[in-house]
């Protein structure tokens, strides 16, 4: 197995090290041949499994991900950056040259693409693990499935289903908090409503989690409820959908449609 990093915060790689109880067993079950954050040993490919963290934001990285793909039998993205472009994809609605000027006194030194894009925008991806950060239990389950030769499958439910199972009182119904749970895929354990707050969509939209008619999340209905029911003004609706997974198809469509109403 190899672990590769692109533009990201390292949190998903840290989730691997946070396996703690299972980390040493994992190291025995497979050979972690390339994982610079954790080891000085850096074996060349090919790799049976490549885990990829981070999004593509530079021309050099766009080139590097192709080389990772060529060396990997199974390429799996870990986390919102690799899977959906991440929080740094907020630049996709902005002028990156002006961003550079905000952060750097000499922006001409900085090499950076105008977009932050997911790995799937560049190479074929075999499996996507959502979350900001990923859930380490999901990661372990998928690696175990791959080792057993089973095609990994994760639940396609929305956060709401998990939230109900935990017996939470709905924060949107009871407290009028605009929660993204109905349109966000499960996997986190519904931790935000469990902590008394709104889900902010860090596991991404449920789209693609299920196939078949009518399966994409009904973001339009939820946005309508935010606006009509909870009195959010259009810019607030835009911000709700334009967050950590803002550049995914359904969240992007929703934020852009409300942007027109501002």
């Amino acid at each position: 197995m190899g672990v590769f990093k692109f533009a990201s915060c390292d949190g998903c790689q840290l989730s691997i090290l946070n396996l703690e109880d299972d980390l040493l067993a994992l190291g025995q079950a497979l050979d972690i041949a390339y994982f610079p954050e954790a080891s000085s040993r850096m074996e060349a490919g090919p790799y049976d499994i490549a885990l990829v963290e981070g999004s593509i934001t530079t021309a050099e990285d766009a080139h590097r991900i192709r080389s990772v793909r060529e060396q990997a039998i199974v390429l799996m993205t870990i986390g919102a950056c690799a899977t959906a472009g991440g929080i740094q994809a907020l630049r996709n609605w902005a002028d990156v040259e002006s961003f550079k000027q905000v952060v750097y006194p000499s922006p001409q030194y900085i090499q950076s693409l105008s977009t932050s894009t997911p790995i799937s925008g560049h190479v074929r991806v075999d499996f996507e693990l959502w979350g900001c950060p990923i859930d380490k239990g999901q990661l372990l389950r998928i690696i175990t499935d791959l080792l057993a030769g089973v095609r990994p499958r994760l639940s396609a439910d929305s956060v709401c289903i998990e939230c109900k199972r935990r017996g939470n009182v709905c924060v949107m119904v009871a407290k009028g908090i605009p929660c993204l749970g109905p349109v966000t895929r499960t996997g986190c354990g519904a931790i935000c409503p469990s902590m008394g707050r709104d889900c902010y969509g860090c596991f991404g939209p449920t789209e693609g989690a299920r196939t078949g008619p009518g399966m994409p999340p009904n973001t339009a209905s939820l946005a309508h409820q935010f606006h009509q029911g909870l009195q959010l003004i259009p810019i607030e609706v835009v911000r709700r959908f334009r967050g950590i997974n803002g550049d995914t198809e359904s969240f992007k469509r929703e934020s852009e449609s409300w942007e027109k109403k501002m």
């Binding site: 915060c9 949190g11 109880d21 040493l24 934001t57 905000v102």
Partner: protein, 436 residues
């Protein structure tokens, strides 16, 4: 790797491992003398300060956490304290204690990660902690279990350890019951003893004789070892309020790095555990001082390789402090204070595991961020890392290319550079040549 001629020599090593970040080190040697040391940071910029503009203040803790998966609490703490200053809020009592406890969790997790998984393999001669576990299973298991105890605090208070979700301006979205907190006690007691054991163990390593003349910078609080509050103090006698930070500390850009360098009155300085202990050792409880005294080390700690010891000491402190907070905890009347939005500018500095983390925000009357400035610890230590390498290099010039490069990597790892905050992936290149 690398090539040699009688008069010129270039060494290029693939990557420095066991750090978080992407960059390269380039050392130029001419006629046997070190000319230039450049820590070149390639971590692609993510522009947080730019896209924070236009976001509501309530979103800031969730957004800035994503700067760093290793120290998200630090980013959240600096952000909420800066914004609370704008709104004239003071978070006190049990809520203040819970913030300290959450920060303790992050220090324990981050320091255990660095001590056991990133730096110890250097002293014991392994490529990684996983490889080290084959010969020293009890040792690595102990490190992982301490780390897990830190993560358990963060998970209880924040819902999860990476990017916790409960921190908000005014307090928390949810606070634990006494009983929930007490559920942590048994494991924290175990970890406290394991941390004391860690200090004694780390003190037995063989350290290079190296003591640069540092200017240390850390927060200093009248009564406590610092997390969220205090004045900024330096080892050369400067004492300023956090609001004066930008009058004394300046960020500047160098062509070879994507991370801005920060200097104090034009000179590099050191932040992090070594600086904190040297400036705040009188705030450590007697039990921690006693373990420190037992190692035979005298203060101030000046050897950067002692970073592993200073992190172990702070791990022990954070565990004792966690137990103290839990012991006296009475749930606050409300999980968060009510907020009255007003426009203005606020600053805050807190002690991230790797050193001071400065934030400044300007928000408008709707609570929307109009300006953000963030100075992470690793960008502050960058200049100091370069200077240390410059001082350390002469003793490496007789080594083979590979060995010299490995030694440089070890120096860099001493700082536990949080390269997600500033850098990612270090590639080391040493150029040796004759003068032209």
């Amino acid at each position: 790797m690398g090539e040699e001629t009688p008069r010129t020599r270039t060494i290029a090593v693939g990557a420095i491992a066991r750090v978080e970040g992407e960059g390269a080190l380039r050392v130029t040697v001419k006629d046997g003398a070190v000319q230039d040391v450049e820590l070149r940071i390639f971590e692609p910029p993510r522009y947080f300060e730019a896209f924070l503009v236009g976001r509501h203040y309530s979103e800031v803790p969730d957004i800035v956490a994503r700067i760093c998966g290793i120290c998200p609490v630090a980013y959240q703490m600096s952000a909420v304290h800066a914004i609370e200053q704008i709104f004239g809020l003071r978070v006190e009592g049990a809520l203040r204690d819970l913030r300290r406890l959450l920060y303790c969790g992050e220090w324990i997790e981050s320091h255990a990660l660095h001590v056991y998984m990133l730096q110890a393999p250097d002293f014991l001669g392994y490529e990684s902690a996983i490889a080290m576990a084959k010969d020293h299973p009890a040792l690595v298991t102990r490190g992982l279990r301490i780390k897990k105890a830190g993560n358990a605090i963060m998970t209880l208070l924040g819902g999860r350890s990476v990017h916790p979700v409960s921190v908000k301006v005014g307090g928390f979205s949810r606070v634990p019951s006494r009983r929930e907190l007490e559920g942590l006690t048994a494991e924290l007691l175990w970890a406290r003893d394991a941390a004391a054991e860690t200090i004694r163990w780390a003190a037995t390593f063989e350290y290079p004789d190296f003591a640069p003349d540092y200017t240390y910078v850390a927060l200093h609080h009248p009564d406590e070892y610092p997390f969220n509050e205090g004045r900024l103090e330096t080892s050369n006698g400067l004492s300023i309020s956090v609001g004066e930070f930008e009058q004394h500390f300046t960020e500047h850009q160098v062509a070879y790095s994507n991370a801005l360098h920060c200097t104090l009155q034009g000179a590099p300085y050191l932040v992090g555990p070594l600086a904190r202990i040297n400036l705040n050792h009188d705030r450590l409880p007697p039990s921690v001082k006693q373990v420190l005294a037992g190692t035979g080390l005298s203060l101030p700690l000046r050897n950067p390789f002692h970073g592993i010891i200073s992190r172990s000491i702070e791990m022990l402190y954070a565990l004792e402090e966690s137990l103290r907070v839990i012991e006296r905890y009475e749930p606050p009347p409300v999980p968060a204070l009510a907020v009255t939005v007003r426009s203005g500018t606020g600053t805050a500095c807190t002690e991230a595991p790797r050193g001071i983390l400065y934030h400044r925000y300007r928000v408008d009357g709707d609570g929307v961020v109009r300006e953000a400035k963030i100075v992470p610890p690793t960008s502050q230590n960058q200049g100091r890392i370069e200077q240390d390498l410059r001082q350390f290099m002469p003793r490496l010039l007789n080594l083979s290319n590979d060995d010299a490069a490995l030694a440089c990597e070890r120096v860099i790892r001493c700082y536990d550079p949080c390269i997600s905050c500033a850098t990612h992936f270090l590639k080391l290149e040493i150029q040796r040549g004759s003068g032209t």
